[in-house]
Structures are given as C-alpha cells and as structure tokens.
C-alpha cells in the first residue's frame, strides 16, 4: 500500500519537505518527497500495516507542529495521491480518513488527474467530466480520439498507475568478516585458513542468489589500526570457492604485511548474474560443460594461455607459418564437427584434385575393415601427419648423386645411423633476402625402421638437419 501525505499549506520547495524525511523514517523504512501538487510525501507501507503507518505518520507530523495534513491510502500511487489531495479540509479528519478504506476515483472530476490543458478542453468537449466516465470508455476509442496522453489519463482514471515512486532496493552484495583480538597473524598460510572460512560463506551466498563474482576485495585489518585492501580478480566470473581461494593465495603470496592482521573482511565487489546456458538434449557434452569450463579456466589461471588454437599464414616455411593464439572459451573448438579431411584436404580440392581419397590396401595386404579388431580402422580420417621438432636438429648425412642433385642415403642422429630406403626431393625453398634469409632443400625419406622423416639441407651453411617426421 502507498501512503501519500499532502497539505495545502506546503507551498514550499522540496528542501523543507526533505526535512520531514528523517522523522518519518521512524515509522516506515522508505520515504520519498515529490514537488508536484505543491509537495507530496510518499511513505512506503508495502508489506506493513498501512493504516497504522498512516496514523503514525500523521502523529509524527502533528508533533512537528504541522497541521491540516491530509493522508491518502491506495493500492496504487494515483489512488493514494488523489485521496490525499481531495480529502476534507479539516486536518482533524485526516486520521479518520486514514482509518477508512481506500477511496475510488469514480466520482472525482477529471481535473484531479492533472490533465494537459488541451486534453482537458477536449474531454470537456466530449462531455467527460468525472474519472468514472473516462474510465468507462473503451481503450481503443480513447487511443484513437485522444492519443497517447489520453491513454495515460484513461489508465490513471482506472487506478492503473505504473510509476515507480520507490526505486528498487539494491541487494546487498555477499560479504563476510572475522576479527580476533588475542593475537595478530603474520603468516600467510594461517591467514588463508581464516579466509577459507569466509570464502565458504560468500560463495554459498553467491550460489543461493544465482550470481557469480568477477572481483572480490579482501580487507586486512592490521594491528596498527590501518586497513590493507587487496583486490582479487578472476578471469571469468565464478562462485567456486576453490578458484577464489587459489587466486587469493596467489595474491597474498605477493603481499608484504606491514603489521600483524587482526581482522579480515571479504566482500564480493563485482557480481554478475549467472545466466546459464540453454540446454540441448542432443548435446552429449552439455551436462559436463560447466565442469569443463571450470577446468579450462583453472588451467588458464595456473599456466596462462596454454589452451591454444592455430592461426596460419601462407609463409613458405612451415615453422613460421603458425601463430598460436590463446583459446578464450567464446566457442568450443569442437563446437562444429571438422570438415571431412580438414584444411589440408580443402587446399588440395582447390587445386582441382579429388576431394576424397580412399585407402587402397597394398597388394597382398588384407582389407583393414575386414580384419582389424580395433575401432580405429573405421575412422575415416586416420592418416600419417607431419610433426615438427621445435628446433631443427643438426645431423650427419651420407649422400649420393642422382642425376643433377644429391639425395641422402643415411644419416646419424643421436649416435645411431639410419639407412634411407626411399627419398623424395629435393623440394627447394628460399626467401627473405632482406630479413632472416633461408635456402633449404627438403627431402622426405623413408628410413629402415619404417618411419618417414623430413630432412633438409641448408644450402647457405651446407648443413643437414632433421626437421620433422610423419606419425
């Protein structure tokens, strides 16, 4: 219920009305003043005994020496406002009015709603004099004949008032505190033990209200009387006690305490709503998405951007072609199934070669599908793929001539010699005349243990290197 206080004697500015607020706050938790109609005082009686609040408010004003104060009660603001503005002139009747039931707007003239002068003339022209007559009209006809302002007035006449007299009360952010007086803590580990208990309370409150914290502040009250404030931020909003404790541990490890700690206040500083995600019955991974995201966030906080995705260019050197970027979780890497054959196949298709390749069993070898007991035989994308050493490794090589070039026939790596059964190449690549130049002759070699390696000869330094292998 709304309680509206009005007096014809209040022809004052809001300042003097504002002086009444502290006194009225003794009877109700929220009081708002408004300058309309020469000054209105609103008392929030929602959830309280409205009649009692109205009587108490009148009593307070009478004790302050204000007479001729009128009060109105209503389920909506407009009813309370009109009731107060049209109450009898005697201030003594105010209390009686307060005790009575909320009045109806039906018999009041339209002027109590303070219509726009042009609209008032229009209403007068069509013979609408009271709120009841206006409320009896059909909404459509009011909208067509009187416009938007007419509709607003029509709603008020029906007691429909959506004004927000009292702004919503902001919810208190979760916080917890602990103080001790017998001793002062200087050890971070013991301090964390106390903070851990506070995180339990704060994170529990966050979960209860469906929120996640992006930032928390940890105030350390020192024995010297000062307060040391530490801000702890998480990469992603979370209500996980484990995550916050780990971040706080990292923060406290870097803090030098100027004095012993005698109290801790922990508060969630930046809180966001846990919007959640729309579920998908056909997504097998949905049930574990939150756990996966938490694990990846933990990994990122511990080790940095270790979850990566490649960004490739067309650089001639394959090791300079890729830049690894951190994966920030905006989209799962597996969000869409990979295209058949992947990017490499796409490149071959662009050159007009067939888009699919079928595995042709070697002569005499059995069909892999028919004999293999492993499920991998049915995987369509099994293929040998190139892997690179982080840094090409120098090797010793024996070569022989083949027409106008040389090919390796054996190489030594790590003290062991490997014979080359077949070698394809050279594939020559060179560039960067003005930068870090290179000139390489690449060979794909099948060696005697069955592996296929990628060797190159540095034509500028005349050295041989093992660069990678197929696996």
């Amino acid at each position: 219920m709304f309680v509206c206080l009005w007096s014809p004697a209040w022809r004052t500015a809001a300042d003097s009305l504002a002086e009444l607020s502290p006194a009225l706050l003794t009877v109700a938790p929220r009081v708002v003043t408004e300058e309309r109609r020469g000054g209105l005082v609103w008392v929030d009686a929602r959830g309280l005994d409205a009649e009692r609040v109205a009587r108490d408010a009148l009593g307070v004003l009478l004790r302050l020496g204000l007479s001729n104060v009128r009060v109105g009660l209503g389920r909506t603001a407009i009813i309370a406002e009109v009731a107060a503005a049209t109450a009898g002139a005697g201030a003594a009747s105010s209390e009686e009015r307060a005790a009575s039931a909320p009045i109806s707007l039906g018999t009041h003239p339209v002027s109590v709603l303070e219509p726009d002068p042009a609209l008032a003339t229009l209403l007068d022209g069509i013979g609408v004099e009271t709120c009841g007559e206006l409320a009896a009209l059909e909404g459509e006809s009011v909208e067509v004949r009187l416009g938007a302002e007419g509709v607003r007035l029509w709603k008020l006449a029906r007691g429909d008032d959506d004004r927000l007299i009292f702004s919503p009360i902001p919810r208190e952010l979760p916080h917890a505190s602990l103080e001790w007086s017998d001793y002062a803590l200087g050890d971070t580990e013991r301090l964390l033990f106390s903070v851990n208990a506070l995180f339990g309370t704060v994170c529990e409150k966050l979960v209860e209200r469906g929120s996640l914290a992006r930032e928390m502040t940890l105030d350390l009250r020192l024995a010297s009387g000062s307060t040391l404030t530490n801000v702890v931020r998480a990469g992603r909003p979370t209500a996980s006690r484990k995550t916050w404790l780990r971040l706080t541990r990292l923060t406290l490890e870097r803090v030098v305490l100027p004095a012993g700690v005698v109290g801790v206040v922990l508060r969630a500083a930046v809180v966001v709503t846990d919007d959640g995600q729309q579920g998908d019955l056909f997504d097998r991974g949905f049930a574990t998405a939150a756990a996966t995201e938490a694990a990846l966030a933990s990994l990122a906080e511990d080790q940095g951007d270790v979850v990566v995705v490649p960004e490739n260019t067309a650089h001639p050197l394959v090791e300079r072609r890729t830049q690894w970027l951190g994966h920030h979780g905006d989209r799962e890497p597996g969000g869409c199934p990979p295209p058949a054959g992947g990017g490499n196949r796409k490149a071959r298709t662009a050159r007009g070669k067939p888009s699919t390749r079928h595995v042709i069993p070697a002569p005499g070898s059995p069909s892999p599908v028919s004999i293999s007991p492993f499920p991998v035989s049915t995987l369509p994308h099994s293929r040998l793929t190139l892997y690179l050493l982080p840094t090409p490794r120098a090797i010793e090589t024996r070569t022989e001539e083949r027409r106008d070039h040389i090919i390796p026939i054996a190489y030594r790596d790590g003290g062991a010699w490997y014979g080359v059964l077949s070698a394809a190449g050279p594939d020559r690549v060179s560039g960067e005349r003005w930068g870090d130049g290179y000139a390489r002759e690449y060979y794909r070699c099948v060696i005697d243990d069955g592996g296929m390696v990628w060797l190159y000869r540095d034509a500028r330094a005349d050295g041989w290197y093992l660069h990678g292998w197929w696996d």
Binding site: R284, G285, T288, A291, A295, S298, L299, D302, V306, V308, A314, P316, V318, T322, Q323, W324, E332, G334, C336, P338, G342, N344, R357, I360, A362, S365, P368, I371, S372, P373, F374, V376, L379, S382, R383, L384, T385, L386, Y387, L388, P390, R402, L421, S422, V429, S430, G431, R433, G437, A439, Y442, R444, V446, I447, D449, G450, G451, M452, G468, W470
Partner: protein
C-alpha cells in the same frame, strides 16, 4: 590414429584434448575439433592432464611428449577413474595401462607415386602394424592409412627471394 580418435570423439558430440608438451604439433595440419593444450613444462603437462581428466568433461585425453612415471601414473590413473574418461599416454613404459597399443610402420609398405624419371615423388599411403594387449587379450592388425602431404612452396630460382605469402 590418436588424432583421428580425438576427432571421432568430437564428431560424436563429446570433447577430447591433446596435450602437446613437446610442441611438435604443426598448426597448418591441426584440424578443428579437439582442444589443444601446449603446456610450458613437464610438470604443467601432468598437472593439466590431471585437472582435465578429473573434471569429467573430456571423453579422451591424450598426453604427448611427457612420460608419467611411478606415482605420477598412479595419480593420473585415479583422476581417470574419478572423471570417467579415457586417457592415452604415449610412452614406452605402459605400466598400469588397461590397454597397451604398439604401432609401427612397415618399412616397405609405402606406396609412392613416381615421377617421369621413376623417382619417388609423393607417398600415397603406408601400412601400420598395430598390436594391442590387455589382460587375457592380444591382437594385431595391419592398417593402411593415407599420408598427409606437405607441399613445399618452391622458388623458381634459388637466387631469388621468395616473398609469396608474406605481408606486404
């Protein structure tokens, strides 16, 4: 084959992750689908593997470039049981493994496409001999797989700078 298994898990609506400790994965050949983790150290790799296994969100976790030893293996095994996924460690010491798989490319199984001088030019496919062992079970098979070619972008003249593909 492990990479294919990772992609297969993703294709089935599950998640898989490849932990590449040695940094040997070639970005140009990495196909979208599985998560790729490149930890900075062996310890980070093991901690990351444990975390990802324990969270239960990954159907397959492959640890490449780091060989867990002794108690590390036990700890990872417990994480696997807790998370309920599958864990593959590429190691010559498969203690505590429920399934041990060895693979080896058969040296003379490579099928080459030949050039005009009958020189080998491009590998078409190769055959891998795979042997799997588990408690009371032992089997092997030969699997023929294609080979991903890497086409080096050739310079026309060894003395000329090849600036194709570079930002201008």
């Amino acid at each position: 084959m492990l990479r294919a298994a990772c992609r297969s898990a993703v294709a089935n609506g599950e998640r898989s992750v490849w932990i590449d400790t040695a940094g040997t994965t070639v970005g140009a050949f990495w196909e979208e689908g599985p998560y790729l983790v490149q930890p900075k150290s062996r310890k980070d790799a093991l901690r990351g593997a444990e975390e990802l296994l324990r969270c239960g969100g990954f159907a397959l976790v492959v640890l490449d470039g780091t060989e867990p030893e002794g108690t590390e293996t036990v700890r990872l095994t417990r994480a696997v049981r807790e998370g309920g996924g599958a864990f593959v460690a590429i190691t010559p010491h498969p203690s505590l493994a429920a399934l041990r798989i060895e693979s080896k490319i058969i040296p003379h199984s490579y099928e080459w496409r030949r050039g005009p001088f009958n020189d080998p030019v491009e590998v078409q496919h190769a055959t891998i001999r795979v042997r799997a062992r588990s408690a009371g079970w032992n089997a092997s098979a030969d699997i023929t797989v294609p080979v991903t070619p890497h086409d080096v972008r050739l310079s026309l003249e060894p003395g000329l700078a090849d600036r194709r593909g570079l930002p201008r």
